[in-house]
């Protein structure tokens, strides 16, 4: 396997590691670690494979395409139920900055009765989130609203056109939505609602995972990977938006520096400085998944989360 370590070799050959991801701002720590050469320091040669969707990226990992996968935790839970065992080895954020935007005339969740909303792909994290928001707002999501399914990129068009009445929104796209005069039914940074929906402010949903088998067989590689990631996270949380944007540029072909700065400024509050998943956060995530039907049975922290690598990584300089 490409993950074979070549310890002891004089020329310090790098271990090749492939990371599959659905490229987003959430995983900045890893990109920084890559850009700053932290992986190389650890003896890893990291390559990124970008998928159109998290769950597919995750399947790619299980099919042997990659060693690590960066995505939201829900598919990992779901797959666990299906018999695909994975270990979550680090988290990259502390909370979820998901938002929910209504069209001009929608100011209350309750107004969405009988309307069409977009909540991302069914079964995805945003979907569960919106589902809960709607329940919170006193609606029965299964009956009171129609979930339209579309490409994320089409959502803002659909909202403006009136094809849908409310849409899931990534926090970093907030300004685009306000440009079309959308109302923020749930603002990404609004912790109050979030606490009600998730049961906790902590919600370390953007994670790095690997298959259980890989973690069991290659603890050193995992450790090295996590070491670099944690170092990246530290750098990330201790530098200015401009500096971060500068470093991230190569990972976001097609975005200008201004775009990046804007997005970073919007979501940096959620960046995790230590990459840990708290017991409280896990509880919230598991409960939330159970509530929204992603999970059928409790999984249990230890069965799916392995924080030992992150713990060890904290001291690495």
């Amino acid at each position: 396997t490409p993950a074979e370590t070549t310890e002891g070799s004089e020329s310090k050959e790098l271990t090749k590691v492939v990371v599959s991801e659905f490229r987003g701002m959430n995983y900045a720590a890893v990109h920084i670690a890559d850009a700053m050469g932290y992986f190389e320091e650890q003896g890893l040669d990291v390559e990124f494979a970008v998928y159109g969707d998290g769950p597919v990226a995750f399947q790619g990992m299980h099919a042997g395409d990659s060693q690590f996968c960066m995505l939201s935790i829900e598919p990992v839970f779901r797959a666990f139920d299906e018999g695909l065992e994975s270990k979550v080895v680090a988290a990259l954020d502390t909370t979820r900055l998901y938002g929910f935007a209504g069209s001009k005339d929608i100011t209350e969740i309750s107004q969405l009765k009988g309307k069409t909303v977009f909540a991302g792909a069914p079964g995805s994290a945003p979907y569960s989130f919106i589902w809960s928001i709607l329940e919170e707002g006193g609606l029965n999501p299964a009956e009171d609203v129609t979930f339209a399914q579309m490409q994320y990129g089409a959502s803002i068009t659909a909202l403006e056109q009136g094809t849908i009445d409310a849409s899931y929104m990534d926090h970093y796209n907030r300004n685009k939505f306000s440009a079309i005069g959308a109302n923020f039914l749930v603002d990404g940074a609004d912790m109050e609602t979030k606490k009600r929906v998730f049961g906790s402010e902590k919600f370390e949903g953007s994670i790095i995972t690997a298959t259980k088998k890989f973690v069991d067989e290659n603890p050193e590689t995992v450790q090295k990977f996590v070491n670099a990631t944690v170092k990246g996270a530290k750098w990330l949380t201790s530098h200015s938006d401009e500096e971060v944007a500068e470093v991230l540029m190569p990972y976001h072909d097609g975005s200008t520096k201004e775009d990046l700065i804007e997005r970073i400024s919007l979501i940096k509050i959620a960046y995790s400085p230590d990459c840990k998943i708290s017991a409280e956060g896990y509880e919230a995530m598991e409960n939330f998944s159970l509530k929204t039907g992603v999970l059928k049975n409790k999984v249990g922290f230890d069965n799916i989360i392995d924080m030992s690598f992150v713990e060890k990584a904290q001291d690495v300089k």
Binding site: E82, G83, L84, A121, Y127, A148, Q149, Q151, T163
Partner: protein, 271 residues
């Protein structure tokens, strides 16, 4: 009589061998999945798909999604082929216009429609229209190019004959051009059937509230591969069914045609 019997025999052995192939494939799939040579979660396997199909059917969901997708496919096929044939004919008459516009059509057909999701939503919303448009567009590319090509390669002589015998433009079209281009139109339609199905599904990916495309995305994100496969199996059957209709049309419409085989021994036996 004799030769009809031969025909029938041949047909049955073709169908029989084909069935054997398919069944063998299914068994191999089932076996390799159940023997654990790979994790069946990625591809599911026949018995599981069958179970899921039954659930899909009995729950009434199949009907709901099928009716959505099939409506899109039907109208897509209809508009796509009608406009495709029509435009091919128009360009056949006004070849100057044809030369101007066909490269534009070729170029447009190179755009991955999925990328235009926002544009489609902008233009057509999330209803049937966008899916029909997309399916129709993809059918159009197929049928148009097949028909236009056939017209450009037509035998001039029979057009001239028809004209001399007093046929108007429209009559020539109906009685000579369309019948003699029929093999190509039908082959375009065969491509069109696939295109309509794929187009409708992609349309549903772009944005929809139901249909097999919706179901596939939904199931994919829940790792419910059996359901994805169920949808694919149904699409396969729809495709087969539509192709069968085309086969029948071919048999009815192309009685005049003799099919060429490249092998001398086969050629010989074709009377």
């Amino acid at each position: 009589m004799r030769s009809i019997d031969k025909e029938k025999k041949r047909y049955f052995s073709v169908v029989a061998i084909r069935s054997v192939f398919i069944i063998a494939g299914i068994f191999l799939w089932e076996y390799s999945a159940s023997s654990g040579s790979y994790n069946p979660i990625f591809t599911s396997y026949p018995s599981q798909i069958l179970k899921d199909l039954i659930v899909f059917f009995t729950s009434g969901e199949l009907y709901k999604h099928a009716s959505i997708t099939l409506t899109e496919v039907f109208w897509g096929l209809f508009f796509g082929s009608a406009i495709g044939i029509l435009l091919a004919i128009v360009f056949g008459y006004f070849s100057f216009i044809g030369e101007i516009i066909t490269p534009i059509i070729s170029a447009i057909s190179c755009i991955p429609q999925l990328a235009l999701a926002p544009v489609y939503v902008l233009w057509f919303g999330l209803g049937l229209t966008s899916k029909i448009f997309l399916a129709g567009l993809m059918v159009f590319f197929n049928v148009f190019s097949a028909t236009y090509g056939a017209i450009k390669s037509m035998d001039k002589g029979i057009l001239e004959s028809a004209n001399l015998l007093g046929a108007s433009h429209f009559q020539t079209l109906r009685t000579v051009v369309i019948p003699s281009c029929m093999p190509w139109i039908l082959s375009g339609l065969r491509g069109g059937v696939s295109a309509a199905l794929v187009g409708a599904i992609i349309g549903e990916y772009i944005g929809s509230k139901g249909g097999f495309g919706w179901m596939i995305t939904y199931s994919t994100s829940y790792f419910n591969i059996s359901r994805v496969m169920s949808c694919i199996v149904i699409l396969l059957f729809v495709g087969l069914g539509l192709n069968k209709i085309l086969d029948i049309m071919e048999q009815k419409l192309l009685v005049w045609r003799t099919v060429t085989s490249l092998r001398m021994e086969n050629l010989k036996n074709q009377d």
